[in-house]
């Protein structure tokens, strides 16, 4: 028991987050220190041993080592370290503690060997990330966090139903490759996909992430979606339905990002787009595509962090978050501009950057399987990434119309963080063997062939040409674009009506409750639920799901 905790890389982070509440002034020291300890444990102590707790009902495998989990854990910790360096000036110990808790629960999920452990840390991750969003302390972040939490608790509920079904049917909770032939496996898939930002629930990413503080968005972008990508690789690799979902996500991300005005929201849409590439890779399901997906997740975490750090620096220095308010910042913030451009080149898979060596694996996997339509869609996606993130983000923020904003580059540690992330993007791009050695399957893939380089350059240059030719139509306006969340945003009044109605029914049976003396307590509960939107919504949702499952006689 003790040895399993000592060799678990998530454990120091969990302890560290508790220590921050005790020593608030030392929050930075504790966070960076505990991440370094975790990194040390991962590199030198963690070994290929499973720790299993056996009981009469099920065996709980709370630590299960795999090469894939090692890779994801490594990049989680690297990004945690860079992000912590970036957020040194952020004056909120609560955010720092919750970020540590968030990373820790994500790593617990990576190393969990059974669905029950996974589920527990899955929910902790949802709550910790909501706290990270709320820690920005604005009204908008409060309501966005509410919607985020409801969405994730709903996903968790669906996942739990699936896990219960799996346990009842097979009496085996071990995490393993599942087939989509039973209803509970579909439930598990939906629960995982919801965290990946799959349709029709993609909008929680651009809705919630940009409402975090300038530093917390960097962390938010890295963990939830990529944990979900990890678990989908382990459980649903090769399910062809994922290719359709992934392609939809790629297109959705591009089209919505083209219409968006908020800087960080553009980057959030491009998270959906990039995760779409990974989901397609999981759907193809060959060794090459799984390697590509893992590699793409690794490089994506770093360059997305870099892009959000450069956007965060802009927000930190001038406190403006809309494309229409900024422009021409390359003169006053040269380093931020250079780092932002490196990130933008990496996300659009420009040769010599990390995106190129990972995305070409997924694209090549589709060629090897002879999937022409998927391949064409991936090409459209590759061209579109350059359009919506590769050029649009740097162009509207750092160039375009000079708004004559007087400012400077951010303080020193924020610069270090951005430089470190840019360096990783380029080092991996130039020496891909560094990353290929860590992938789950042996790699015999050469990214720098004439075919790859020339075709990619052609795609990118011509999509750049398309961008500048149609620049007039891409001019940003003060608008937002409706999404599926229109169905539930601002609809809380109906939930409140429903609660009043339900409690009205309870109050009609006055005699029983007044007899036991419970009536007063129900009035207190009603008042409480009318004030707490998240809890009341979840209660209604649980009631609905419970009723549906009873009607369908699923139990």
């Amino acid at each position: 028991m003790i040895s399993s905790l000592i060799s678990h890389p998530a454990f120091p982070l969990a302890i560290g987050s508790l220590f921050i509440f005790l020593f608030k002034e030392k929050a930075n020291l504790i966070s960076i220190g505990s991440i370094l300890i975790s990194l040390f444990i991962l590199l030198f102590i963690t070994n290929n041993v499973d720790y299993v707790y056996k009981s009469s009902l099920a065996s709980i495998n709370y630590f299960s080592y795999s090469k894939l989990a090692y890779l994801f854990c490594l990049v989680f910790l690297i990004m945690g370290l860079i992000g912590k360096l970036f957020s040194i000036y952020r004056d909120s110990y609560k955010e720092k503690a919750m970020v540590l808790m968030y990373i820790s629960s994500a790593i617990f999920v990576l190393f969990s060997g059974d669905f029950l452990t996974l589920y527990v840390f899955w929910e902790i991750m949802a709550i910790a990330s909501t706290m990270v969003i709320w820690s920005s302390n604005s009204d908008k972040s409060l309501s966005a966090g509410n919607r985020y939490l409801i969405m994730h608790l709903l996903g968790g509920l669906i996942l739990l139903l699936g896990i219960i079904g799996l346990y009842i049917d097979t009496n085996n909770l071990q995490i393993r490759l599942l087939n989509l032939d039973t209803w509970y496996n579909w439930m598990i898939l939906i629960g995982f996909l919801l965290n990946a930002g799959a349709p029709p629930f993609s909008q929680w990413i651009p809705d919630a992430y940009p409402e975090g503080s300038y530093s917390s968005t960097v962390f938010l972008s890295a963990y939830t979606t990529k944990t979900s990508v990890f678990i989908l690789i382990v459980t649903f690799a090769g399910s062809h339905v994922l290719m359709l979902i992934g392609i939809y996500m790629i297109m959705y991300g591009i089209i919505y990002a083209l219409l968006e005005n908020d800087i960080r929201r553009i980057l959030s849409y491009s998270i959906v787009n990039q995760v779409g590439f990974m989901i397609v890779g999981i759907g193809i399901g060959t060794e090459l595509s799984i390697n590509g997906t893992a590699a793409h997740a690794f490089s994506h975490i770093i360059y997305k962090g870099l892009l959000l750090m450069s956007a965060g620096s802009v927000i930190y220095m001038i406190n403006k978050r809309k494309c229409t308010d900024v422009g021409g910042l390359y003169k006053t913030m040269p380093l931020t501009a250079i780092c932002g451009i490196i990130g933008a080149l990496a996300i659009s898979a420009f040769p010599l950057t990390s995106g190129f060596i990972s995305k070409s694996m997924i694209v090549d996997a589709s060629i090897h399987e002879g999937m022409q339509l998927v391949w064409l869609m991936l090409l459209v996606g590759s061209a579109g990434v350059f359009l919506h993130a590769g050029i649009k983000f740097p162009w509207f923020v750092f160039f375009h119309r000079d708004k004559k904003i007087i400012t400077t580059d951010p303080p020193i540690y924020m610069k270090y963080a951005m430089i470190a992330a840019s360096a990783i993007c380029i080092i991996i791009g130039v020496w891909p063997q560094l990353l290929y050695g860590l992938l789950p399957y042996p790699v015999d893939f050469i990214p720098y062939t004439g075919n790859h380089v020339v075709s990619q350059l052609h795609l990118l240059f011509f999509s750049a040409l398309a961008f500048f030719i149609s620049l007039k139509y891409l001019e940003r306006t003060l608008t937002l674009t409706l999404d599926v969340d229109w169905l539930y945003r601002g609809k809380i009044k109906y939930i409140k009506l429903l609660i009043k109605y339900l409690f009205g029914m309870i109050n009609k049976t006055e005699n029983i409750f007044s007899f036991i003396g419970l009536r007063n307590k129900f009035t207190i509960l009603e008042d409480y639920l009318l004030r707490q939107t998240t809890i009341s919504t979840m209660l209604i949702l649980i009631l609905i799901i419970f009723t549906v499952s009873l009607v369908m006689n699923i139990s």
Binding site: M251, I254, I255, Y256, L258, L259, N261, I367, Q372, W375, L376, L379, V380, S382, A383, G384, L387, F399, T449, G450, N451, V453, V454, S455, L457, H458, L459, L460, F461, F462, S463, A464, L465, A466, F467, F468, I469, S470, L471, Y473, L474, T477, L478, T479, L480, T481, L482, D483, R489, G490
Partner: protein, 71 residues
């Protein structure tokens, strides 16, 4: 000449240079029938981007609302 035109001319210059990379790399690998067409990647990339922008603009007609729609 404004910035936008400068960039467009630079890009056209770059685009004119890239075909020579074919020569250096002995670039003759064909994946599917469709990419044996000369200039498949540039044409496809360009058309893909233009059509994405057109789709986005079409969607915007219905779904675009003012900045304070939800407030």
């Amino acid at each position: 000449m404004n910035d936008r035109n400068k960039i467009i001319y630079t890009l056209i210059l770059l685009i004119n240079v890239t075909p020579y990379l074919y020569v250096f790399y002995n670039f003759k690998k064909v994946n599917f029938n469709i990419d044996s067409i000369l200039g498949f990647y540039p044409i496809f990339g360009f058309l893909a981007c233009i059509s994405l922008i057109i789709i986005a603009k079409t969607i915007a007609v219905i779904l675009k609302k003012g900045d304070t729609y939800y407030d």
